[in-house]
Subunit: 385 residues, 2 copies
C-alpha cells in the first residue's frame, strides 16, 4: 500500500493531530462549550496575523475572502490598482470587474516581483485610485511581492487601502499586519494553516473598517458587517464549518508551539533547500530573485514535457506535485513548502524529481539535488537546537 | 466522561464512518484519484435530489447556496413573492433586499404553513413577479410548506421560477425536484447529509439555467456559471472543501443504502414519535397541522422559562436541544430528527425533556412521553423488517 505524499502549494498534508480533532464529536456552535474554543482560535489567529484587529472567519475557500475584501471595501465605480503577476493577480482583477470596480492592472512578468516604481507610477496615472490589490505570495509563480514597500506607496495618499492576498503568505513569511499598516489581509485554511480547504480569514484595519461602512456593493453571505458585529461574542453570522474550526484550534497550537520566528524559519529553510537542490540539478527557477517560501516554481527543462513530468511523479512515485496554471501549464512544476512537511519530506520530493527526470531521459545526476538540500537541512536542524 | 448528545436541527451528529473518512489523508482535488470520488458524489446527489440535473457543490454554509439562488436567477429591479413564515423566510427576504430584488412578502403565522390561496393572491397582485421563494421545511418553526402545490401556482405564468430552500428538507421529505418542476433547490451539509457544516448544494432546472444566463447581479464566488462549466468534468470553480467531500461520499452511501423511501420513512417516524410523546406529556406543538420531519417545535408550557429549559437539559443531561430563534426565543424548544439518530436517541431526548420539566417544577408524568414514542417505534421497527 503506497504512501500518498502531497507536496502541492495547497491543499496541503494535514497533521494527524488535526485530522483526529476534526473527527471528534461535533460541538454545536451555539453551545457554551464552543465559546472557549472560538475564543482561543480568535486570539491565536491574531498572533499569526500579527494584528490587534479581529480576524474574521468565513466558511468558504480563500477566494471567498478575496471577494469579501473587494465587495466590502470598494464600491461600483471605484478605481483600484491591481498587481497582476499570475493567476491570483488575475483573480483580483476579475473580482474588481465582477463588482463594478475599474482595475488599473500593473502587469508583471510571471516569475518577477512587482517593482515599487511600477506601482508608484500607476498611482501617478490614477491618483484617484482607492486601493492597491496585490498578492503577498503569488502561488501560481512562487513570487513574493514587496508588501512592506507597497504599503508605504499605497499610503502616500490618505484613505487609500492596501488589500493583500496573504492566502499562501500568512504563517509562511513574516508579515506584521499592523506594523506595516496593511488594511485588508486574507488567507485560506488549506495553506500554512495545516487544514483542509473550507475556511477563510480576513482582517481589517480601522481604515478598512471605515470603508466597509460606506461600500455600496451588494453582499450578504460575505457581508463583513454581520461578522464584525457577532465575532467578538464568539459567534459567526452564519453556521460555521465546525469540524474545520476544531482542527484549526489544534493547528494554531502547532503553528505557534515554537513561536512565529520558528514557523517562518521552517518555511524559509524548506524553500531555500529546494531552490539549492533544483539549481544543483541544473534546473532554472521561475522566481530566482524574490522567491516565496510557500512554494518553489521550477522551469521544466527543454525536451521534457512538464505535464508528463508531474504525471510521472504521481504515477510512479505516489507523490503529488503541482504543475503550472494558465499560460504556465506544462512550463513549470511547483513543490509546496506548507502543511505537515519537514526537511525529509522535501528531500523525498527532490529525489522524486531527480528520478523522474532521469526516467524521462533528461541528463540529471541522481543525488546532486538531495546532497545540496541535505547541506542546508543539516545547518537548519543544527541551528534549531 | 459524559456522552455529548446533539439533537438540534443542524448541526447534526455525524456517523463515525463519515468522521473517520474525513480524517483520512487528503486527495488533491486536481489529482486523478479525486475524479471517481466526485463522480460518485455527483451521481448520488442527483438521486437524493431526485433530479437529472447537475447538483452543484459549493464550499459554504447553506446560506451561501441561498445567496447563489437569488444572485444567479434574479436581477436588480425584479419582483419576487417570498413566503415569510420564520427566520429562514426572513432570510430569503433579506437576500432579495441585498441584491436589489423587490420582495412581496407573504407573511405566515409562525407555526402555520402558507396556504396556496395566499400565494395565488400575491401573484394576482403582482403578476409580473419573476419568482416564488419558499422554504420546504422552515427549520425555525418546524413547518413543512406545500411545495408541490406552490410549484403549480408559480408555474401558472410561464418563465416564473419556484426557488426552494430545501436545506432541512432534501433527504428528509420526499421532494421529487424534477417531477414537481422545482426550478432551484438548495441544501446544506449539516442537515440530513450526516456531515458537519461547510458544504452547500444547489440544483437548477432548464428554466433556471436560462435565468442564470440573463441575471445581471454582481457575483463571483457564487457565480454558478463557473460551476456549471466545470462540474461535469468533476471539478469545482474554486478549491473545494475536500475533507467534507470525502465524508459526503460515505454519507451518501449511508443515506441511499436502504433506498430513498427508507430514508424518508426514518425521518417521518422520528418526527411522529416525538409529536406523539410531546402531546402525551400535555405539551402543545408549534406546527401541529403541517409538521416538518426535520425537527419538532414544541411550545414551552406556561410557567416554564424556555431558555432555562434548554440550558438545564444541556447542563444536567449533556444533551443539546435547540431553543427558539428571533421572536420565538424562549417560547419554544426544538428536537432535531436529522443526522446520526435512531429511535433510541429520540427516546433519550424525550426522557430528557420529561426529567427537565419535572426538575423545573412543571407537572409532568415521567414516562408518558417515552411510552407514546415506544409504541410508534415498535411499529416502525417491525415494519422496517
Amino acid at each position: 500500500m503506497p504512501r500518498y505524499r502531497l507536496l502541492t502549494p495547497g491543499p496541503v498534508a494535514v497533521p494527524e493531530r488535526v485530522r483526529l480533532a476534526m473527527a471528534q464529536t461535533l460541538v454545536h456552535h451555539r453551545a457554551p462549550d464552543f465559546e472557549p474554543v472560538f475564543e482561543e482560535i480568535r486570539a491565536n489567529l491574531k498572533r499569526v496575523f500579527q494584528t490587534e484587529q479581529e480576524v474574521l472567519v468565513l466558511a468558504s475557500s480563500g477566494t471567498g475572502a478575496m471577494e469579501a475584501a473587494v465587495a466590502n471595501t470598494l464600491s461600483p465605480g471605484d478605481l483600484a490598482v491591481v498587481v497582476r503577476g499570475g493567476k491570483f493577480g488575475e483573480r483580483w482583477s476579475e473580482l474588481c470587474e465582477s463588482f463594478g470596480v475599474e482595475a488599473l492592472n500593473v502587469d508583471v512578468e510571471y516569475g518577477s516581483a512587482v517593482t515599487p516604481d511600477a506601482v508608484r507610477s500607476a498611482f501617478e496615472r490614477a491618483p484617484e485610485a482607492r486601493a492597491l490589490l496585490v498578492q503577498a505570495s503569488e502561488t501560481s509563480t512562487g513570487v513574493y511581492h514587496p508588501v512592506e514597500q507597497l504599503a508605504e506607496i499605497a499610503h502616500e495618499a490618505p484613505d487609500r487601502l492596501i488589500i493583500v492576498d496573504g492566502i499562501s503568505a500568512i504563517g509562511v513569511h513574516d508579515i506584521p499586519t499592523d506594523a506595516w499598516g496593511l488594511d485588508v489581509v486574507v488567507s485560506g485554511s488549506q495553506k500554512s494553516w495545516l487544514l483542509p480547504p473550507g475556511l477563510a480569514f480576513v482582517t481589517l484595519s480601522e481604515r478598512a473598517l471605515q470603508a466597509v461602512r460606506t461600500s455600496t456593493n451588494a453582499r450578504y453571505y460575505f457581508d463583513l458587517r454581520s461578522e464584525i458585529d457577532v465575532q467578538p461574542e464568539n459567534q459567526t453570522a452564519f453556521t460555521p464549518a465546525i469540524s474545520l474550526l476544531a482542527g484549526l484550534r489544534e493547528a494554531l497550537q502547532i503553528m505557534l508551539g515554537d513561536g512565529l520566528a520558528a514557523l517562518f524559519a521552517r518555511h524559509e529553510a524548506l524553500a531555500r533547500a529546494t531552490r539549492a537542490a533544483m539549481e544543483a540539478l541544473g534546473l532554472e527557477l521561475l522566481a530566482p530573485d524574490s522567491p516565496s517560501f510557500a512554494c518553489t516554481a521550477v522551469r521544466v527543462p527543454d525536451g521534457v514535457d512538464g505535464r508528463a513530468l508531474v504525471k510521472h511523479v504521481r504515477d510512479r512515485y505516489d507523490m503529488t506535485l503541482a504543475g503550472g496554471q494558465g499560460s504556465l501549464a506544462g512550463q513549470i512544476f511547483r513543490i509546496g513548502h506548507m502543511g505537515d512537511l519537514d526537511g525529509f519530506d522535501i528531500l523525498s520530493a527532490i529525489a522524486a524529481v531527480e528520478m523522474a527526470l532521469a526516467d524521462l531521459g533528461f541528463p540529471v545526476k541522481l543525488g546532486e539535488g538531495t546532497r545540496a538540500a541535505t547541506e542546508i537541512f543539516r545547518e537548519f536542524y543544527g541551528e534549531r537546537g
